[in-house]
Each structure stands twice: as C-alpha cells, then as structure tokens.
Subunit: 189 residues, 2 copies
DNA sequence: GTCTATATGCTGATAGAC
DNA sequence: GTCTATCAGCATATAGAC
C-alpha cells in the first residue's frame, strides 16, 4: 500500500517528464516504464490507461502549484504586491519546480479521455489570478480580462524560452512583468 | 508542373490544419492524405517524409506572416504605432489567418529532423519585434528583452483561448496589449 | 502523379504466471 | 506488484504497376 503509493508517485513524476519532453503521443508507455525502471505492463497496475496517467499528472501538478501560490499569498498586503507574489510563485513552480509543471502547458490531443476535466482543472487554477486582478484599482477603461490573459500568456510562454542559469530568476521576471503593467494603470490620473 | 505545385500547396494547407488540430504525432499521413483526397503513398511524391512536410509548413507559414507584418508596417510612423501595427498583423494572421499559422505555435517533437531549422525560422521572424522595441524610447531601467518576451508571450498564448465571434478582434487585442505596456514606460518622468 | 500492395516496426493494452 | 508473452492495430515508408 505504501509501496504502491510510492511507485504511483514516482510514475507520475517520470510520466510528467516524458510528456513534457516528448509530447503526449511520442511519450510511449514503454519509454515511461523504462525511465521508471519497470515493465510496460506494470504501469497498468497503478493506472488504468495512458489517458488516465495524463489526467493524474494534471491533477497532481495543478494541486501542488495551487497550494504554492496560496502559501505565497499568506500575509502579503497590498493588491499589486499580492499579484506580484502570485506571479513569482507561479513562475517559480513552472520554471524551477521540475518538469512536472511544464507538462501542464503542453497540448492535450483531442482523443484523450478526460480532456474536459483537464481543461476544467486549468481554468479553476487560473481563477486565482482573476480574483487578484479584480481587487486592483484600475482606470475605468482598462479591460481586466485582457489584463489577466496578457499576464498569464506572458508567464506561460516563458517555459518556451527560459533556461536555468541564463534568463532572469523567476522572482525578477515576476517583478518586471507586473511593473511593466502597473505604473500606467493604477491611478485614474 | 503547375498541377504539382497546386497539389503541393494544397497538401501544405491540409497538413497544417491536421498538425494544429491533432498535434504532430497524432496527425497521421493517412489522415492528411484522406483530407487532401489522395492516398498516403502519393504524399511522398511531393514531400520526402513527414518531417519534411512539417518543416515546409513552417517555412511557408513564417514566410507569409513575415510578409504580412512588413506590409502592415509600410507608411506607419511613430515607434509605438509601428509596434501596435505589427502586433495587429501578427494577431490577425495567428487568429483569423487560418490554421496554417497556429500550426507554427505547436510543440515540435524532439525526434523531428529539421527541428533546429524550425527554431531558426521562428527566431528570425521574432527579430522583427526586437527591432521595433529597440526603437522605443523607454525609461532606462526598463529591460527590453523582457518587454519583447512579455509581448510575444501574451500574443502567442492567445491561440489557446481566443475563439472567433467571442473574444476581441485581433486589432483591438493589439491595441490593448500595447496600451497596457505603453503609458508607463515611454517617458523618463 | 497517383495508385495498390506491402514491409517493418512500434503502439496501447491484456492474460496469466509468479 | 511485477513479470513474460502476446495481440491487434496503426505508424511511416517503399516498390512497382498504370
């Protein structure tokens, strides 16, 4: 039972890495099994299908990142500070939290069973940012929906170009992103 | 010869649509052939492999979008206006220019021959925006690299959520994106 | 240029021993 | 829980007729 949970957890990590690096289709069950040090058939003791494995990866990753963002928001005061803290936590997980979270950014093939659930999980998570942006004081002509999608787009695109030891640290990136949006918008002049 | 070029062009369009909708691996040569109204083997008269087909899709799409952006920049004066015009053209192609351009945003599996070339084509195209941003007058502490990546990220992420007849028109989106970045940055106070 | 027919290999998944 | 062995199907790609 405990052993089973360990293996299950290990499989999730390995699968996420494969899904991220190869994409869902190219990440074969054989490859995942090999990376996890077991045979293909053994995976099916822990997960009923490859699709179920992908769904489980999303559940785990989004649960973890949601907790990280909520933790980062504890005791932070000020609307813009809170937004920046959430962005920093989001980028921290995405860029340096292991391949687990990058897997969530990949395309989900249309034939995957549980695709709708995956989209729902993603949407639920992103609602944190909608709430934070709703709290901002903005000039009346600013569209909050666009602002949210712009910020999330900028953040979620980082995983295509960011490399460890090269680009700016996640927290620096969060500061710049929010600063670039901030100064112009917060005061009704 | 002319007939061959027509077929080749048609295959490119069909393949791009399949690559976008299904992802590279799930878009089988059988499916592409079927959608194009021919047999699998016939594709190989026009393209030597599936990988070559993907590379050709990128060459065509990036060539076209580059021309569209350059055309949109003709006779536009003012650094911020030029950036906005380029963004509008970019979004116009990406969102309403057919699936051709969305295919370029998808993940390229690591095993694809010509992967490096594809990345080079993407980088070359994005240099347009680096040049436009280099022309802006910004407060000295603003990082232009971050600004470029932020804007491209926001734009390239749109194809994950934008739907025809729902979201804002591409030109409106371009205006909001640039406006959100603009007011705060252009004057050294 | 497009076809039929086929080679070869990899895919997700299952059966059943241990 | 993990294994060996295997299935049926689909993948890319090629050979050669028309």
């Amino acid at each position: 039972m405990t052993n089973s949970n360990n293996r299950r957890q290990q499989l999730l990590e390995v699968a996420a890495t494969c899904f991220y690096r190869e994409g869902y289709d190219a990440a074969s069950m054989r490859l995942i099994a090999e990376q996890a040090g077991m045979r293909t058939a053994s995976i099916y003791y822990h997960f009923e299908s490859k699709d179920a494995l992908l769904v489980a990866v999303h559940e785990e990753a989004l649960h973890r990142i949601q907790e990280a963002v909520n933790a980062a928001l504890m005791d932070v005061k000020g609307e813009w500070n809170r937004l920046e803290a959430a962005c920093a936590a989001h980028l921290e997980m995405l860029l340096t939290g292991g391949t687990f979270f990058k897997a969530v950014m990949r395309h989900v093939p249309s034939a995957v069973e549980g695709r709708e659930l995956i989209f729902k999980l993603r949407d639920d998570y992103e609602r944190i940012f909608a709430d934070l942006i709703a709290d901002l004081e903005l000039s009346p002509e600013t569209d909050r929906g666009t602002l949210r999608l712009m910020l999330l787009g900028a953040m979620n695109w980082t995983f295509t170009w960011w490399r460890p030891h090269e680009g700016p640290a996640p927290a620096v990136l969060a500061f710049r992103f929010v600063t670039n949006l901030r100064s112009c918008l917060d005061l009704p002049a």
